[in-house]
Amino acid sequence: MTPILPAYSLMDHDIARARPLPTTGVGASLQRKEDRRFLAGEGEFVGNIKLPGMLHVAFARSAVAHGRILAVHKPAGFEDAVFTMADLEAGSPPVGPIRVLSSLPGFKPSSQWPLARDKVRQVGEPIAMCVAASRAEAEDIADAVVADIEDLPAVVDMLEARDAPPALVHEEWGDNIFLETLVEGGLKGDAFEALKRGAAVKVHRRLRTARQSMAPMEGRGVVCSWNTRLDQLEMHTAAQMPHINRAGLSETLGIDQASIRVIAPDVGGGFGYKGILLPEEICLAWLTRHIGRPVKWIEDRREQLIANTNCREHHYDITVYADARGRLLAIDCDSVIDSGAYSSYPFSACLEAAQVGSILPGPYKMEAFRCRTWSVSTNKPPILPYRGVARAGVCFAIETMVDAAARAAGVEPHEARLASLIEADEMPYDNITRKHFDSGDYPEAIRRAMQAIDLPRWRARQGAAEPDGRLIGVGHAVFCEQAAHGTSVYYGWGIPMVPGHEQCGARMTPDGRLELRIGAQSHGQSLETTLAQVANEILGIDPDHVRLVHGDTGMTPYSTGTWGSRSMVMSGGAVAEACALMVERVRDIAAHLFQVPLDQVMLAQGRVSDRAGGHSLTLAELAHVWYRQPQRLPPGVNPAGLEVIGGYKARVDTGTFSYACHAVAVAVDPGTGAVELLDYVIVEDAGTLVNPMVVDGQIYGGTAQGIGTALFEEMRYDSQGQPLASTLADYMLPGATEVPAPRIIHMETPSPYTTFGQKGMGEGGAIAPGAAIANAVNDALRPLGAELTELPMSPRRVMAAIAASRAGGVIGSPHAAKGQAA
């Protein structure tokens, strides 16, 4: 398909530029259209939905991490209210397991039954579904379900799972490895070995990032019913990718996709947590049809923390080679990802490792690269791609290593980076793993960040002792955020869900308002506003006259949904295409109505007129004629009317590359291990900003999450695989006192490949804080000879690193190599 808009230039069209007021179109910090309902307390979250005759569901879940199910006993008197996998399999068609395959050779699939069958493989795995008139009663029944389970040794640590497993999570595999991959680039074999021997600087570390919970403020939840008129399942679910949920439900339930409508209503944050087909969704879909009543399940926070998906658990055994100036020469890395018990739908157990292997070089040039990855299965919940996905761990790994190399070379870390970064005049640039960087000036971002944080002043302050005995450190990190990945990227990573073309349906209503229908879903990203700005940019229509329909498979074109910072590029591109088509339709109708040649018709600021000035109509007046007074239209007018589908695919589909440099100054208390952030600067380049206020909001929010990754958040497990954080009092989310307001400085280098030059940027804030803060903390601890190699840098880890250095100058915390301890 040829895009209607090859690039951002309406001047290419034979119409006057629909020049918006500067306060409404692309580039305006327009206040959000979605705010009113949330400020009033009128958001329609799934928990608020009530259907007549609705029953409530609670799940009986496994108390052990690994075991063989011998029997499940339904409580006496409640046999009709409790369902096990045997019941779901007895239906016609039988309910099947979730099986998500990577297309990469050697991948071993898992079978995740919606209710455990034969074995349980993690604490919290659902065993029985219990239904009652209220949630409280359903929980009472669930408490009375007894499962006889023969304990098996739990596989808890990912390195142990790979090297010396106490058990096999999936016996039929013969080991605990979903997939092993090798990515190489540049020099190989003897040439690589010679480089290693000749490198002036060689640093080796074992690095680890903690397992985390994504923890949106709203959990998952499902309300569903069977519509007998349409013979269709109607499911409301707190989901980021409703079309994908529909596909997954169809596959596991054995019913066709047209018999399923999935609606994601208002969703209280996602961050990746809601990008999954849930076992609970499958169970409730089966149940509502089986019992003929609407049913509801709302995940509570304990279920979320104990049973449902986690993210981010990486281990790096990494060596970096550099020259005497700290310029990067090569990376050699073994990386293990703890993918948990199952391969989740649709991202599979391998997305994280695929990213690690291909993006570990970051925005750096080098001569050789080798990364081997293992996606390992353990008796812990599956991991999902959390905001930033593997980039947060990768950024921590490469950026702490660049700092270590700079220290070894005796240069300032930013000098080592400036010597290694891709330069602006090399763009577009294909790097050592064949990532195609679209545009940008990475060195400039570092220079501006160094200037803004004022490095010399912090260095001077370090020279003088602090009155309170704390140690001052300053550090930074740079990263690239590949976003809006296209077909080739996901196909290459072996992910079973491959994004393709994105569409938008646009309809002008008889009163001249615009309805936009997109298959993505907005749950905080502000698409109701920003896509209205896009429509305004093309059509000149008042954003208040634009209504976005999203997150409903019954109303919208297919889309893989909202993930990977793709919506502003993909849905934004599709909306622009649809609106450009609408411009043509409007002009055609006007030309017929005005009885002037098409090239005499122009559309500006929501009015269509002829160049001679004889005729002028508002969009509402024109729409009124089209729908209500067709007798006024002569023959020959395009009968397709004011309803269009616009489609979009980026001209180069390898994604946009946003990037940023985060620089931070910290004070570390060597007596308590507490870390305080003293200043935080972000120099960010996300191309053309559609709504700068919204972009800043994404950066602030992402950075807060990244600060959680850096300092606080950790899902810990004991040696039996029991989760040690089951409430928000144990799982520490950063609050207003922990998160500063970073200073944000924008650069705007447009992407040459997208409609307006915009780049996906929703995840970036969460990527760099772990790395930047670690570099600052290690800078602070340098006088003590201590170094942190694990996230989060909790007070206990800081103290352990200090103690280890005092004990014998050991670099790194004692837990770096192994174990869950903190």
């Binding site: 949330f38 958001g43 403020m217 926070r301 905080g524 807060a704 409430t727 609050g735």
Partner: protein
């Protein structure tokens, strides 16, 4: 079942509740007031914050039966309230909400701050907010909105950090 009498958003109510039902469930399920969101149901996140007898309280760890005789105000009950109207406008202007899930609880806490502590500096605002978690905004817009409302009401938030300056008093 126990019968309780209370005022909810200015309306006298008599209702039968189970002893184990918490106030948020009572309001959401029995009174159809779903503006109060639940984020943890163990008293940490603050999403369920509403007003009981004029003070912010967590409705998830308050039993409905303990509210016999109380006056409860939820996010739906601030219609004519000037401080709340100012906060709502400021929340939108400062982009203090994204998904909107924490917002009702955040607004109730913010209103308490601007009324009880006019003119306090930013670090105090942040301390007062520390019982309300937001996973989306990083709190930047929320703090700015509260400061803006304080400034409008003639009690600007005390000396602190404009977003263009280093944010900690210990900065060089």
């Amino acid at each position: 079942m126990t019968t309780i009498r209370l005022t909810v958003n200015g309306r006298a109510i008599e209702a039968d509740v189970q002893p184990r039902t918490h106030l948020a469930d009572f309001l959401r399920e029995q009174q159809l007031l779903t503006g109060t969101n639940l984020g943890c149901e163990h008293g940490v996140c603050g999403a369920c914050t509403l007003e009981i007898d004029g003070a912010p309280a967590r409705s998830c760890i308050t039993y409905a039966i303990d509210c016999d005789g109380a006056s409860v105000r939820t996010i739906e009950g601030f219609g004519g309230d000037a401080p709340m109207a100012a906060l709502r406008a400021a929340f939108s202007a400062e982009h203090a909400l994204q998904c909107g899930y924490c917002t009702p609880g955040m607004l109730v806490t913010a209103r308490d701050i601007v009324i009880r502590l006019p003119g306090v500096p930013e670090d105090r605002i942040r301390k007062e907010l520390s019982g309300n978690l937001c996973r989306c905004t990083g709190y930047a817009g929320i703090v700015r909105a509260i400061r803006a409302v304080m400034a409008q009401s003639g009690t600007p938030s005390g000396p602190s950090l404009a977003s263009t300056e280093p944010f900690a008093s210990t900065a060089p």
